[in-house]
Subunit: 257 residues, 4 copies
């Protein structure tokens, strides 16, 4: 427990949850409830009024709702001076700009919007981007359950793009590859010059490995996600940090520094 | 050291090496020389006469030569009553039949011909074939240095075929896969219905992973080969076994039982 | 789906579950219910009479109860001519002998008693025992959640003992190890001469890796268990097989052949 | 190839090697020789005079010698205004202070002294230290060939210490561990509260895995070193950077930023 957490534990942060009966919302309520330094003061879902959160004195609201209501929710929070942590998807640059506009008029309020609250996944991508310019070879192998519709995963595609950008900045050329005789698909998909392999098997949950290679050595960064609860440490991290971060923060990255 | 090895160590097996100055031949000579229960009595290469081996009293000859001379070498060994262990490539069914014909006339002589002397690789394939009928999902990921010309590797293709056959025998249908939206190549190459992914990176040597999955669990069999010396335990195993195995033995499999 | 399964699917096997409201029993009921070739005809738990199973025409009974009632349950099943698949723990050699005695008087009835229904775990141990005599080095690394009380796990200890026996039979001496300067515990626990390392970390479920090494290569067999459902394919395998296996079968091993 | 490398490739950096006939020195000579932007101008070993390097116009000297001569070599280089990259071991704080003293009188000269030139190993340690404060669990598994005398390895011990420091700074308490019944050694060695497991097996070279865990997810950072050549990219990185880094730089870390 950090110094900051200990200090505030005398007076827990009051937290409201929007989308409290959804899959993620239920997990957030459980996690907030279990944390000594946080207090769950409002559980709001479809049909409930947002004022349940302000009436209960929520200092931070966590929003795992849907793209069609999240903008109204956020506008209302900022108006009320309530900080917000948002895991709802569908944020375009245009939407982010509107949020920035609302925040400009409420300088004390903080909003954290993150597409991925998995601390492990975010660190994996950070480390991959950082390692990228030191290795001439790199490939990504992601592994998921066989009910997944897209291949490769969004996280793998995002990782590949970040690696490609880091390589370009470091002046690295193409990855060495002498393959001349390939059964189609063997060498994977190419995302901005980075090879990505998608494995699908019953029993798997969500896993990703980034393999870097240079003369005589390899460095592998692997993330294994076993269940939805894996997002909770990231959500709690944001809940604890958002009151000290006025304005808009996009992504968990800066909160991890 | 096994009982058998200890017993025979009093009187080491006399071994000749054909192709003794080739890459593999050099390793074989070193390995035979280092083994207490074997004695290196002849090193034969291009330009030397085969009779150097028989004159030296070789009981077993190891042949790592080339497809164009190996049949003559074998014919000569069998005629001389010398057992042979052969790692030279290029054996078709027709060639194997000719060897069987020569052996039929020399009932005491044994010949072991193996495409792969890596004990680890052979066991990996055996285990994979055995596990195949108990798991609804299976995929292969092979990883090699980037100078390799073919993708996937011959070992991966061979493993996929053995798995496919075992699945068919067990009445298993296709591997489950809901992928609808694929960047071309992401899901790998398809070999007899088994997905195979080929990773290439500087620093890697030769590695293969077979991943099996069923409800709630996965089983992974992984083989890592670090250098050419990895074939030597298999060669020595064959050298020790061949005198007790008259006739033709193809592959290391049966010697491992 | 195998030929046998297809044939019997016209007439599903009638299955009763004892301990139906326990953690494992609930999973068994779900799994039987979901299988096309099986029919769940009785769910029996504490307070219910066993005759609910025979009245419902159960051909196979699955028992996940407790050591204090399982012997009575089994005696009753055998008397009734109902085949049984037993996952309840606590079977000593003495208890197994009593079961054999009961079965001797009912030659048509089959009983399968298994300490572990995870197909992956059972295959891992089989493969490990088989590989053991071909590699001079071997170590086990098991990884579990940090709430586990014992280290190493029962499965790891059992695997180590099987490996040690296989090494002894092959005449292998001690594993090579030049360690002279060791921080206590670094080299793990020694179980019959095999080093076993127990890793504990939040986020992990139940995992085990057996690493074999010889000159220039390693072979790794890894099992990952993600949830309790992983035992169900093994339970169903036994349910399908037990009617054709009169007498007592201990362990899943022979059913996998 | 980076912009900087391309620019300087018109006029290669002139490099001398001290300890040129040692194991590492031979590799350095090969690596310098193979790099387009570097020129090997002097190979100096025991019995040769150091002035061979200055006479040949060396701008950078690489020193892989022994602790008893390295201080004299460095003093001479700094006096001559030649930059130095040093992989020789045995540098205490006292020795580093003496080097700093010599450099104070030669403000344009740069010296890089690194205990480990493996880029992968250095990044692994950096990433581990950075991830440490975000995960409640962490363990280290290092794997080496069985001829190694110490367990755990120096790199593993160093990594554990860095992780322990990062955890302390973040206010994290002890790693959760409910183990009550342990076969001695199963839970590994304890280095500053971090559990470290040392695996030894024939076939392995030098490998290390750092496993982090939190609710529902794990993050693994793994480094595999296959041969001595793996240090060369780090040596060349230092050779290219040292002329622009006057004063003393200890460790490869800052050069990787």
């Amino acid at each position: 427990m950090t110094d900051e957490q200990e200090r505030t534990s005398a007076e827990p942060v009051r937290v409201g949850v929007l989308g409290a009966r959804g899959r993620m919302g239920i997990e957030v309520c459980k996690a907030v409830d279990a944390a000594d330094d946080l207090e769950l003061v409002a559980m709001v879902d479809q049909g409930d009024g947002l004022f349940a959160a302000s009436d209960a004195g929520a200092e931070v609201v966590v929003d795992f709702t849907t793209p069609d209501v999240v903008m109204d929710n956020l506008h209302w929070c900022i108006d009320q001076g309530i900080n917000a942590v948002v895991g709802t998807t569908g944020f375009t640059e245009q939407r982010l700009d509107r949020v920035r506009g609302w925040l400009a008029r409420k300088p004390g309020v903080g909003v954290v919007i993150a597409p991925n609250f998995g601390i492990g996944a975010v660190l994996m991508m950070q480390f991959a981007a950082r390692a990228a310019r030191h290795f001439e070879s790199v490939e990504i192998i992601e592994q998921h359950h066989p009910r997944k519709l897209d291949a490769p995963s969004g996280t793998a595609t995002h990782t590949a793009r970040q690696i490609a950008r880091a390589r370009a900045e470091a002046g690295l050329g193409p990855v060495p590859d002498a393959t001349r005789d390939e059964v189609p698909g063997a060498r994977g998909a190419e995302i901005d010059g980075v090879r990505v392999h998608a494995v699908r098997a019953t029993g798997l949950v969500a896993h990703q490995e980034v393999l870097f290679g240079t003369t005589g050595e390899t460095l592998t960064i692997r993330h294994d996600s076993y269940d939805r609860a894996s997002f909770m440490p990231g959500v709690l991290l944001a809940v604890r940090a958002v009151r000290n971060r006025p304005g808009l923060t996009v992504g968990l990255d800066t909160l991890l520094d």
